[in-house]
């Protein structure tokens, strides 16, 4: 794994609170973030890596150093929203996904106990019961 992708995965894990992010999805979102945040992403990843190397815990790095910061906060939030929503918000307020897969695998659906629309993985009547969540 290239170093930039590896630090993107470390940053993402801290942002979404999951150490087991799927590699292929990480690669997909990384490409999308790299395109949308061409200027900010390398610096953000370098800053995050630097914080970790100076012994700061990932979550602390986010909470104290990155998210409240006017420079690092906005791109961090875009990456966070990318994992949850499977896309990056455009000017009109719509979430542009990288692909159908990028949309389907967004975290939001699972977190709310649902599934992406058009893809239930369920059988007739499953909506009559609370989901497993």
């Amino acid at each position: 794994m290239e170093a930039a992708l590896a630090s993107f995965v470390r940053l993402s894990s801290a942002l979404v609170g999951d150490d087991l992010l799927p590699d292929d999805l990480a690669a997909l979102y990384f490409e999308q973030a790299r395109t949308a945040l061409a200027d900010e992403l390398p610096a953000l990843l370098a800053r995050f890596t630097h914080l970790l190397q100076s012994g700061v815990e990932p979550v602390t790095a986010l909470r104290q150093h990155l998210l409240p910061d006017p420079r690092w906060g906005p791109p961090s939030k875009i990456i966070l929203a990318l994992w949850f929503n499977g896309g990056i918000k455009n000017m009109a307020g719509d979430w542009a996904p990288a692909s159908a897969d990028g949309y389907y695998r967004a975290l939001v659906w699972d977190v709310i106990g649902a599934h992406p629309p058009t893809l239930s993985n369920g059988y007739f009547g499953h909506w009559k019961y609370p989901p497993e969540c």
Partner: protein, 393 residues
């Protein structure tokens, strides 16, 4: 004329078949991948998830058939029957000469499913000639299709004087358990209706019907063959062990099954079997005329929620866990293993104590399994669901 005892025996056979079929369908559905990987391209993943939902639907209808058979059994003076041999089952075990096994979703499994649901007139010719030449035994014990088995039962009930002797209060309808099409059997006419609803959903009478199980399965088979033709490396299912078991002993295990070697996976599979057996007993209790309606409803509902919110995701999680400690080996899967157990007592208090004790034991067990570093995310969610079911009962 068929005696009551023969009729009851035929019905237990129908129960075993419906139940075995349901497990076989469920197993294959649980092996279908819900996320793309190297052998399942992202654009095919939605189609594969749709296949799973079709198979889950058929399995749910087999479960409805089992419940329908329980109504018939109870009406004829019997009690709910849910025993069956563990997998793989011997070909000779039923006159159908079809092997009931657990195997991952694929061409072989679909061929088998199609054969289970095939109407008589579509039997492969060589077997058709053989079978057609073999006269149907007058006692109905030598059926060639599941439809024929039900035909014999229907005729037997019509001919038997005073056939319906069971307590009508024992009958279960949609008011007690979430099967909106479940017919209560209180007389010969409702018995007939019950039987026809089952045969209508299964193989059907006309060969051009696509809305019966046979039709759905044929369509699934065609879709799989089409996808494989486009991409021979296409693999929609996890490579799960055929006929997994947690106990391959001759005693009361599955001696011809494949033992799950990985200790963690085996523990998860054992928890699955324990929950599965508890679910069956809770469902069975719904047919006790002695129990209060509230408890019968709560157990019936609890059983269905266990199936939907616990057994389904737990089974799916198992097909993602390794079967053995060898790297690159097959994955595990749910065994649907039945072992020695007692049915729930008709005594309501005792039944409630047993169920709630067992549920809390199993909730704790699954909770521990969910904390393991080997756990997949599905198991954590199952633990939460189970906790909620335990609370609600």
């Amino acid at each position: 004329m068929m005696s009551r005892s023969t009729l009851l025996k035929l019905l237990t056979e129908a129960c075993e078949l419906e139940h075995g079929l349901a497990c076989s369908y469920l197993y294959s559905a649980m092996t279908l991948k819900s996320q793309p990987d190297g052998r399942l391209p992202a654009e095919q993943a939605p189609m594969v998830r749709q296949w799973a939902s079709q198979l889950y639907f058929i399995a749910a209808q087999e479960m409805l058939h089992l419940a329908q058979a329980w109504n018939l059994l109870t009406a004829l003076g019997g009690t709910p029957y849910y025993l069956r041999p563990n997998f793989p089952q011997n070909t000779k075990y039923y006159p159908l000469h079809l092997k009931l096994v657990l195997e991952p979703y694929g061409e072989a499994a679909l061929d088998r499913f199609v054969a289970y649901e095939r109407p008589l007139e579509l039997m492969p010719e060589h077997r058709f000639v053989q079978d057609a030449a073999r006269p149907r035994a007058a006692d109905g014990e030598s059926f060639r299709t599941i439809g024929e088995l039900y035909d014999s039962i229907e005729q037997g009930i019509a001919a038997l004087p005073n056939a319906i002797v069971g307590d009508p209060a024992a009958q279960v309808g949609p008011d007690l358990v979430d099967f909106p099409e479940l017919v209560k059997v209180v007389d010969v006419a409702s018995a007939q209706r019950a039987i026809r609803s089952v045969t209508h959903q299964g193989e059907g009478n006309a060969t051009d019907r696509t809305d019966c199980h046979f039709g759905i399965l044929m369509a699934l088979r065609e879709a799989l063959l089409r996808a494989k033709k486009v991409d021979p490396a296409f693999e929609p299912a996890h490579r799960a062990l055929p006929n997994p078991t947690t106990d391959a002993s001759e005693q009361y295990g599955a001696p011809h099954g494949s033992l799950i070697g990985n200790a963690y996976s085996r523990d998860v599979a054992a928890a699955f079997d324990a929950l599965y057996s508890l679910m069956l007993r809770m469902l069975g209790y719904t047919w006790s005329p002695g129990g209060s309606m509230a408890v019968r409803r709560s157990f019936g509902r609890g059983a269905i929620i266990l199936m939907a919110s616990v057994l389904k995701p737990l089974g799916e999680a198992l097909t993602q866990l390794p079967a053995s400690d060898d790297r690159g080996g097959l994955n595990a899967g749910p065994a649907f293993g039945l072992t020695r157990h007692v049915q729930l007592s008709a005594d309501e208090r005792a039944a409630r104590v047993l169920v709630s004790e067992r549920l809390s034991e199993l909730t704790a067990q699954v909770g521990t399994l969910a904390e393991s570093p080997q756990a997949v995310s599905g198991i954590k969610r199952v633990a939460a669901s189970l906790g909620r079911v335990a609370q609600s009962i």
